[in-house]
């Protein structure tokens, strides 16, 4: 697994989940789409995943998710993320079964959850933090909010690196993360989480100072280097997405 060679057990899970949300630059047709189109794609897939209510719907939903995922050459990452979401899916399944006593509807809810995970992570896997920032700005959200949100995504890989190094350092001091009962295991997290949080806080205050030193907040409306522009491919993609969505939803709702 990525980056997890220095950690073990539960930490691998955290790594893979973060890895699933981490952007990696690839030259594919999906990655090159306008970020607004990618957002539309994700939201559409999300709605489709949410609306599916039987086995055929689910099959169609996953086909709909896998087509753009394969175009983005991200199927393996997506599947890996789903495999690691299974633990939480099992939880959802059990809770549902307790309340509904129906294996069928519990399965549908669980698969729906996986569809939601897959559709949402599609956006973060194919959209760079910069592009996320442009989209949020395009929606005219407050600048501080946009900056904070984009920065938090941008720092996911940095935090992962910190986490690996901290775990390595504490294991070298004899910390055994996977030993002991449940209480001991939670206590084992203290030597890992404290340095992680402290370092994140120190880094964020340093970042704030460095930003201010470079004039952040000096003007109300800073100019932007890039502006989002839709190309022919983007319009085509929007058309395909909307048509496919209309088709699928009408199938789901038995309109046709």
């Amino acid at each position: 697994m990525m980056l997890s060679h220095g950690s073990e057990g539960g930490y691998e899970l955290a790594h893979v989940l973060l890895e699933g949300l981490k952007f990696r630059y690839q030259r594919t047709i999906v990655h090159r789409l306008d970020p607004r189109v990618k957002l539309l794609l994700t939201l559409t897939l999300f709605v489709i995943a949410l609306m599916s209510s039987n086995i055929y719907d689910e099959a169609l939903t996953f086909t709909a998710i896998l087509i753009p995922a394969s175009l983005a050459k991200s199927i393996r990452r997506l599947l890996r993320l789903l495999v690691y979401s299974l633990a939480f899916s099992a939880f959802i399944f059990i809770i549902n079964y307790i309340f509904t006593h129906s294996l069928f509807s519990s399965s549908i809810v669980t698969v729906r959850f996986l569809g939601i995970v897959a559709s949402t992570s599609m956006f973060f896997m194919t959209t760079s933090p910069d592009e996320v920032e442009y989209v949020l700005r395009w929606f005219r959200l407050p600048r501080d909010f946009v900056f904070a949100f984009a920065t938090s995504i941008r720092f996911v890989p940095v935090l992962m690196m910190d986490l690996t190094q901290i775990i390595d350092a504490q294991k070298s001091r004899g910390l055994e993360l996977d030993k002991g009962g449940p209480i001991k295991r939670i206590r084992n997290l203290v030597p890992v989480l404290i340095p992680l949080v402290v370092n994140a806080l120190v880094r964020s205050s340093e970042l704030a100072e460095a930003m201010e030193a470079r004039g952040y907040g000096a003007t109300e409306k800073p100019t932007s280097m890039y502006s989002l522009k839709m190309t022919k491919v983007d319009y085509l993609a929007v058309a395909i997405i909307l048509t496919a969505a209309a088709l699928l939803l009408s199938l789901f709702l038995h309109v046709v």
Binding site: H5, R173, N199
Partner: protein, 268 residues
């Protein structure tokens, strides 16, 4: 006896990058070994194999004669103490005292023995007066000293230091040097990874030069540090005392500034 031995060790990172290729290295008991090379040469990856944080993709690593495969990091760390570069990545306790206690407790020390070990470590590292301070409030030099102390506390036979001089000012470096020197004096095996050749030079360690995941060459400090071409090819700069000796066409470099001064006085 070799305390640590690398046999044809290669390590492939999960992203497919070959971090170590075909490394063979023997570290003898009681010796001082320096591993030098530019950033990304594979030094830290090599270190992480010494206490089992990483296991070789192919080949084997032996620590005190037994292979690291199948051994936990905790088992190996009992004998090979590794101090990482960034002190802030390991400090978490509410006091210096507790920070030192952490490793000792992990290795099963308790009661009076635990207390005595902490106190003697605090004294040895001149941290006794700081024992109740939160370690996060210490200065950079004090933090570094504390991090080495937390490891030396359980008395591992081998001490491995990753870039100990990074971020240390001159007085702290001098202090760190004296500290390492006295740890060596105790007969401990010490491995130092650094690209600070000026710092390493007076320790006259056996030196291993790494580049691109390979060991380019190894030899005595003198032979390595006088080889300007070799150092340049590994992205390193010769220590000034070695440079001076080379410019003067001397066969052996000056061991210290005083040594150089004596030589010049003899000429005037």
């Amino acid at each position: 006896m070799a305390v640590i031995e690398f046999k044809d060790v290669s390590h492939v990172m999960p992203n497919g990058i070959m971090a170590l290729s075909n490394v063979n290295l023997k570290i003898e008991s009681g010796e001082v070994l320096a591993i030098v090379g530019s950033n990304g040469a594979g030094k830290t990856t090599l270190l992480k194999h010494m206490n089992g944080l990483l296991k070789p993709s192919s080949g084997s690593v032996f620590v005190f004669g037994s292979e690291t495969k199948g051994k936990s990091v905790a088992e190996l760390s009992r004998h090979v103490g590794l101090v990482f570069q960034n002190s802030d990545h390991q400090i978490f306790s509410e006091s210096v005292f507790e920070e030192i206690a952490f490793g000792l407790r992990n290795f099963g020390f308790a009661g009076e023995e635990l207390y005595n070990k902490i106190i003697s470590t605090l004294r040895w590292f001149d941290l006794y007066d700081l024992k109740d301070r939160p370690p996060m409030t210490l200065s950079g030099g004090e933090k570094k000293r504390l991090c080495i102390a937390t490891v030396i506390a359980w008395n591992p036979e081998v001490l491995v230091l990753d870039e100990p001089t990074v971020g240390q000012d001159y007085p702290n470096k001098v202090r760190l040097f004296a500290l390492i020197k006295s740890l060596i004096g105790e007969g401990r095996t010490v491995v130092i990874v650094s690209h600070d050749l000026e710092f390493l030079w007076p320790l006259s360690p056996r030196t291993v030069v790494m580049a691109n995941g390979r060991i380019l060459t190894e030899g005595s400090a003198e032979s390595i540090f006088m080889d300007e071409e070799l150092l340049n090819s590994a992205g390193l700069r010769q220590p000034q005392l070695a440079q001076l000796a080379m410019r003067l066409n001397l066969r052996s470099p000056f061991s210290s500034l005083d040594d150089a001064v004596t030589w010049f006085r003899g000429r005037i």
